[in-house]
């Protein structure tokens, strides 16, 4: 009867051609009609194999109960759609499909059976599963990355972030929605972050930024990669960001840089010292040789001047008076003065070349300075003052060598004041060091000469050897001390000798 009715309707054609499996069964679940798609779905070749069989035969046992219940529900409440069951093919293979069932009624409204449309959803299920799997994978990655990740919309309002970032912000990841950087970061940083977002969305280019970040109240440096996110039309809809802490790395880099710079400086310094030592050795050798070789000619000239003077003196008086009148004594005097000067040069040269063997003796520098000042001719237009700290101790120094240092420094100071001025010698101390400074109000030393000042052979004097200060430096260094200079052209210079108080006596 049913069959007949169906065949009669126009639905018949649709029924046959439908790509979805349509099955008609009676109230007992016996299949009474099905279309071609049903055969394909279950792997049958003709309708006869299906018709008359219980529809439950093609449903996996585990779903039988549910299927019966659903049919009952259909009868009582109307059509049920998209119920998933595991179906069976002719040879028993399981596959996943969803069914929608409705009740077929006769003209008087009595139920006659069911129409069931079944759709294979294996592929869809598979895709869904894969999607879920991928999403899980991404989620795992997102949450487990040591980096902090966030996504903001095109107004720099947070859309999402990973737990790692949320932990920094002391919130749960889903609480970030709708918040902005102003809610979490100091104003200045927030403004900076948002300006970066804006720029990146405008340029459409990914940027890597090293920037400040505050974590638990501590300043850190982070490396951030921000990428603009675009819609299908290429309009920026947001910014995806990932960042990580590089504070330690930065610090190590800086340390490394500092070390390597320090090392470079050290090597440079060593090289310079070595070169200087070589130069000094060469100068020393030459100085020793020249000094020694000049002694004999100097002696001969000295002798000759003496003999010359004797000769004039032994002349008969008219001759002697004539010679005197002609200025022979002045001549001898000039020669003697120059000799004295040459002699000083020779001594300087030999002092410079001489290996130093200081003999440290407890010495009052006050006394030593006084001795020195009495040895030097102080011009009338120079005022000398001596300023001494009350607790300035006696020091262990080599009396002769230290006196030499002061003679040189004081002589230099006097020579720097051809038109007079003030010479101040100061003795002061700190916990560790004693300072002896010699200050003049003379011509001063141009900046470009300050570095070379203590190098041997450097001089600006017309009659300087260029050994005076280099000898001072050597002598002071033999006392484990150092010598420095401060100077201003036109204002004067101050030379300061620093001696360690390790050698202090009292």
């Amino acid at each position: 009867l049913l069959k007949h009715e169906v065949e009669e309707t126009r639905l018949g054609a649709i029924f046959s051609a439908s790509p979805e499996a349509i099955t008609i069964s009676n109230l007992n679940g016996k299949i009474i009609e099905c279309n071609q798609a049903t055969l394909v779905l279950h792997g049958f070749s003709s309708k006869e194999e299906l018709i008359g069989k219980s529809a439950s035969k093609f449903i996996a046992k585990k779903d039988h109960k549910r299927a019966r219940e659903n049919l009952k529900k259909t009868l009582e409440q109307g059509p049920l759609r998209h119920k998933e069951y595991t179906f069976l093919t002719k040879d028993g293979h399981e596959f996943c499909a969803e069914s929608s069932a409705s009740v077929v009624k006769d003209a008087s409204g009595n139920p006659m059976g069911f129409v069931t449309i079944t759709k294979d959803i294996t592929e869809r299920k598979h895709m869904e599963e894969e999607l879920r799997h991928n999403e899980r994978k991404i989620r795992v990655l997102f949450e487990n990355l040591p980096q902090k990740i966030f996504y903001k919309n095109n107004n720099s309002v947070y859309v999402s972030c990973n737990e790692n970032y949320a932990r920094d912000l002391k919130i749960k990841a889903d609480e970030i929605v709708g918040k902005t950087d102003y809610d979490f970061h100091p104003k200045e940083l927030a403004e900076k972050y948002r300006a970066d977002d804006k720029r990146i969305m405008e340029s459409g280019k990914t940027e890597e930024i090293e920037e400040g970040y505050i974590q638990d109240g501590q300043k850190r440096v982070v490396h951030t990669v921000k990428t603009p996110v675009k819609d299908e039309n290429g309009n920026a809809v947001g910014v995806l960001g990932i960042f990580w802490d590089v504070t330690e790395r930065k610090r190590m880099e800086e340390d490394l840089q500092r070390y390597s710079k320090h090392l470079e400086e050290l090597v440079e310094e060593r090289t310079r010292k070595l070169r200087e030592a070589e130069r000094f050795a060469a100068i020393g050798e030459t100085a020793a040789m020249v000094g020694h070789d000049l002694r004999n000619p100097l002696q001969v000239i000295t002798n000759m001047v003496y003999l010359g003077k004797e000769m004039v003196q032994s002349m008969p008086s008219p001759c002697r008076e004539l010679a005197e009148k002609k200025g022979v004594y002045e001549l001898f005097e000039t020669v003697e003065k120059q000799m004295e000067y040459m002699n000083k040069i020779v001594s300087d040269l030999q002092d410079f070349a001489k290996p130093l063997k200081p003999e440290f003796v407890e010495t009052s520098l006050h006394q030593l300075i006084n001795e020195t000042l009495s040895m030097v001719t102080i011009p009338e237009n120079v005022k000398v003052s001596l300023v001494i700290d009350e607790d300035f101790p006696k020091l262990m120094v080599d009396h002769t060598l230290m006196k030499r240092v002061f003679i040189n420094l004081i002589t230099n100071a006097l020579q720097a004041m051809p038109d007079g001025g003030q010479l101040i010698v100061r003795l002061s101390r700190t916990e560790e060091d004693a300072f002896i400074s010699v200050q003049d109000t003379g011509v001063g030393i141009p900046k470009e000469n300050l570095d070379k000042l203590f190098s041997p052979l450097f001089t600006t004097k017309s009659k300087g050897t260029g050994f005076g200060l280099s000898v001072c430096k050597r002598l002071v260094e033999a006392h484990s001390g150092s010598i420095t200079v401060k100077s201003e052209v036109g204002r004067g210079s101050t030379f300061t000798v620093k001696l360690p108080l390790g050698k202090e006596v009292s």
Binding site: N303, M304, Q350, K354
Partner: protein
């Protein structure tokens, strides 16, 4: 007055010549030597009151010459002349019997002063020795006379 004699030892002829002139002008008899060997030979031929020894000589160190001369003629005054003073060679010179130690270039006036002083010291030492000998002889004679008196 007996003229004093001085031997100058230096390898520089100009120094020898000029010092010789200076010392001669003060009435000294001056001999010169350019090497250590020559100095030894000359001092064996003639007795010098004083020697000026350069610390550097071509054939030996001045200090070596000093030792040799001090052994041979201890009463001769020996003055070391050095181009550059150092504590070591000053001490060594004195230990080896030098009577003075002076530095080149020396002012001839100072040199003459030192020479004069040293010669005076020598004279006094000799006088002392003479007096001692005289004293000893005197004591000896007294003893002999006392011994004879006992007989």
């Amino acid at each position: 007055v007996e003229k004093k004699s001085i031997l100058i030892v230096d390898d520089d002829r100009d120094i020898l010549k000029s010092l010789k002139d200076i010392l001669q002008s003060k009435g000294y008899i001056v001999g010169t030597a350019e090497t250590g060997r020559e100095a030894i030979e000359k001092s064996e031929d003639k007795i010098y009151n004083l020697a000026l020894l350069d610390i550097k000589l071509p054939d030996m160190e001045g200090t070596e010459l000093l030792t040799k001369m001090h052994r041979a003629i201890p009463r001769m005054m020996k003055i070391m002349v050095t181009g550059y003073p150092s504590l070591e060679n000053a001490v060594e010179s004195l230990n080896r019997g030098a009577d003075a130690y002076i530095m080149k270039p020396v002012d001839p006036k100072n040199l003459l002063k030192v020479v004069e002083e040293k010669l005076k010291e020598q004279e006094e030492a000799e006088k002392m020795t003479e007096e001692k000998v005289a004293e000893w002889i005197k004591l000896r004679v007294q003893k002999l006379e006392r011994d004879r008196g006992k007989d």
